[in-house]
């Protein structure tokens, strides 16, 4: 989607607090896949883990890191994961249901093509 629409829309990953860190609700699947990390204890370690996340997952989208007080996550209720589309007027055009169940890129793409209109073709 980023490669398809990246010239007409801005895309950002917003790295937020870990969903299943090893010192909280860790999932067996993460242990199996060796994705085992403690919750970052300060902004420096959060930024370092965000870097690791971007590199290991091969994320091509520009990524930003939420502040350690989670101010952006709280404003958007973005945890554990969620998609938004913000229009050129600064208003919310699309908000997914909360992840992991509501993480629906196809819904986002439909909203994005509506927002872009002919530019999306």
């Amino acid at each position: 989607m980023y490669e398809k629409y990246g010239r007409d829309a801005a895309f950002f990953v917003v790295y937020i607090g870990e969903a299943h860190p090893s010192d909280a609700w860790q999932l067996p699947s993460n242990i199996r896949d060796q994705v085992v990390f403690e919750s970052p204890k300060d902004m420096t370690s959060r930024s370092e883990l965000a870097d690791i996340c971007v590199v290991r997952l091969g994320i091509k989208l520009p990524a930003v890191v939420d502040r350690f007080d989670d101010v952006t996550e709280r404003a958007y209720t973005g945890w554990p994961d969620r998609l938004y589309l913000i229009g050129t007027d600064g208003r919310v055009l699309y908000k997914s249901r909360p992840g992991p169940f509501g993480f629906a890129p196809s819904e986002l793409e439909a909203a994005l093509t509506r927002a872009l209109g002919p530019a999306a073709k």
Partner: protein, 93 residues
């Protein structure tokens, strides 16, 4: 018959936990056996508990956050009038 009020109490407890901040939620959930979650409508309750304040049509909360590559800060409102913005909230685990 005693099971019904107990089940209702359990559901209410799970919902209250879902409404907690993420760190608190995770600390409680680590002690809850997975099979216990099989008897609740987790997704339905989760959608309500994590519904959030911002709705479609609302002005998106502005933010200025640093790029992970430390190249610059990104301010959401700087895109007003130029491009729509896709935000993908998430983490590694």
């Amino acid at each position: 018959m005693v099971l019904i009020p107990l089940y209702a109490l359990f559901l209410a407890g799970v919902f209250v936990v879902m409404r907690q901040p993420p760190e608190r939620f995770g600390q409680i959930m680590r002690h809850l056996p997975m099979p216990a979650l099989m008897i609740v409508q987790f997704e339905t309750m989760w959608n309500v508990a994590r519904g959030g304040q911002v709705q479609v049509g609302d002005v998106a909360p502005d933010f200025t956050l640093p790029r992970t590559d430390h190249s610059a800060d990104v301010t959401l409102s700087s895109f007003r009038g130029s491009k729509p913005v896709v935000l993908v909230f998430g983490s590694y685990t």
